[in-house]
């Protein structure tokens, strides 16, 4: 059974969003890392990239396949988790503690399009 943390927002494509003020941290869920298997490469966005809700902003790759990352929210990338460049397996070790990028959120109204932990748990079953 995959872990789902309370207090985060979730997308149907298995990204999580943690909101802190006007910023949000984006990562992939424990369910997603489990489905992917061993992560060997993370195609990170770049700082200042504009991302849009539901649109591709990077990719996570296992040995066998590449999986697009879809942004749970629209905004501007202000920071990326460079640790993932050398240690992509951190996503397997702890998907919730290893965020992929931090964005400045454009419009918090978009949060209404995301799921809470309870709803997300239901789609992981």
């Amino acid at each position: 059974m995959s872990t789902v943390l309370d207090g985060l927002y979730y997308s149907e494509s298995h990204e999580w969003l943690k909101v802190e003020g006007e910023f949000g941290y984006i990562g992939i869920t424990d369910y997603a890392q489990h489905q992917l298997g061993s992560v060997v490469y993370v195609d990170l966005p770049e700082v200042d990239d504009e991302v849009s809700q539901g649109e591709e902003f990077g990719a996570v790759e296992s040995v066998k396949a590449a999986s697009d990352l879809l942004s749970p929210i629209s905004g501007t990338v202000v920071e990326i988790n460079e640790a993932l460049e050398d240690k992509p397996e951190l996503l397997n070790e702890d998907a919730f503690n290893n965020w992929i990028c931090k964005v400045k959120i454009n419009d918090t109204a978009e949060l209404d399009n995301l799921m809470d932990a309870e709803d997300y748990k239901a789609i992981c079953e």
């Binding site: 298997g37 061993s38 060997v40 490469y41 195609d43 591709e56 990719a59 790759e61 040995v63 066998k64 396949a65 590449a66 460049e85």
Partner: protein
């Protein structure tokens, strides 16, 4: 849609909790625990693969050698029984029907091992062209189960755990062994670049082999996922990727398995012409500077022009480098040539290298 086929070990895979996927018409295990762990077990210890999806076709009779020499690219004439040959069946235009192994079991008895996805096509091809030859062709794919036991410890495990005498078997040779009331076939062959063996027998025998080796904990169950990463690293082709209906063995860099000096065979004229004139495209190796992963189908560019596509690519588990095989315009195929690979939105720099990304470790 036809029903998906199951090998004689299917239930074992489910019991082990393997991730299953369709391959060549069969529901096959892709990985059990971790593709990386399974890959490394074969490189450094021993692993066992269910390869019962592979097809087995037996050709017997007075004309069998002469006939196989006519449909197969390698030269099997006058070989000792026990010898195994790798080669292809070709279309008259030079493209590949399939790549396969031919086991010479006896002077008038040959055992062909073909790709799962091509069993029906190959069998039909072989039957169709055999008119006028005195021989018998049998598709024994439903009878035989097959496992591959691969890795530097494979020999010791087979000797000690299965009590089969295989240590004197040379690379690319086979023998028949009486075992538990049946005749099984064992060969020193594989598809991983490591020393290893392939065993063919009844479903009951193959299940026993699996239980003994896996039960010993000395041989790790390995899925088709790492079978692909292992064969890829040592530059071995996979039908449907590096070989195809419209890809010749010369384009694939496998000319050494096509013998033009052995008399007539299907596809000979086309291959001779291609050898004389040179190929317009060929399979090369490409190493990327970045860790981004070139996947099958991605486009390869040189000087802004698309020159071909990736056929297989990975971040190599054994070396950590992102590498691929690609079918590209021969004008850009020289070692050291700079190319670019289009991965999602970006272009990544790569260099043409030998398509052997990891050295083979055969026991010859």
């Amino acid at each position: 849609m036809e029903d998906i086929l199951k090998t004689c070990l299917h239930q074992k895979h489910l019991d082990l909790g393997a991730k299953m996927m369709p391959f060549g018409g069969f529901d096959m295990p892709i990985e059990y625990t971790s593709i990386i762990e399974e890959h490394n077990a074969v490189r450094h210890a021993a692993g066992i693969f269910d390869v019962s999806h592979m097809g087995e076709i037996l050709i017997t009779g007075p004309d069998s050698e002469r006939y196989i020499n006519y449909i197969f690219t390698n030269d099997i004439r006058g070989a000792e029984p026990g010898k195994i040959f790798y080669g292809m069946l070709l279309y008259p235009e030079g493209g590949t029907v399939d790549d396969l192994l031919v086991y010479k079991m006896g002077d008038e008895r040959f055992f062909l091992v073909v790709n799962a996805s091509n069993i029906a096509k190959d069998y039909q091809w072989i039957v169709e062209h055999s008119t006028g030859y005195d021989l018998k062709i049998e598709n024994l794919s439903d009878y035989y189960g097959e496992v591959a036991v691969q890795g530097p410890k494979a020999e010791a495990c087979i000797e000690e755990l299965l009590h089969l005498d295989v240590k004197d078997l040379l690379f690319y040779t086979c023998k028949e062994i009486e075992c538990d009331g049946e005749t099984i076939i064992v060969s020193r062959t594989g598809y991983t670049g490591e020393d290893g063996f392939e065993l063919y027998g009844s479903h009951a025998f193959i299940n026993r082999v699996w239980d003994v080796l896996v039960g010993s904990k000395q041989v790790l169950p390995c899925g088709l996922g790492c079978r692909d990463t292992l064969r890829f690293e040592v530059g071995l082709p996979l039908y449907g990727h590096e070989l195809e209906k419209d890809i010749t063995p010369i384009e694939a860099g496998l000319g050494m398995f096509v013998k033009l000096d052995k008399g007539d065979f299907i596809g000979k004229e086309a291959i001779a012409q291609q050898k004389a004139e040179g190929v317009k495209r060929k399979i090369v190796g490409i190493e990327l500077a970045d860790k981004a992963i070139p996947r099958s189908g991605y486009e390869v560019y040189a000087n802004g022009q698309m020159i071909g596509r990736v056929t297989t690519g990975y971040n190599s588990i054994s070396t950590g480098k992102s590498v691929c095989m690609a079918l590209i315009d021969s004008a850009h195929a020289a070692l050291g040539t700079e190319v670019e690979i289009h991965i999602r939105k970006k272009f990544f720099k790569g260099t043409i290298v030998k398509k052997r990304f990891y050295e083979k470790n055969y026991k010859k």
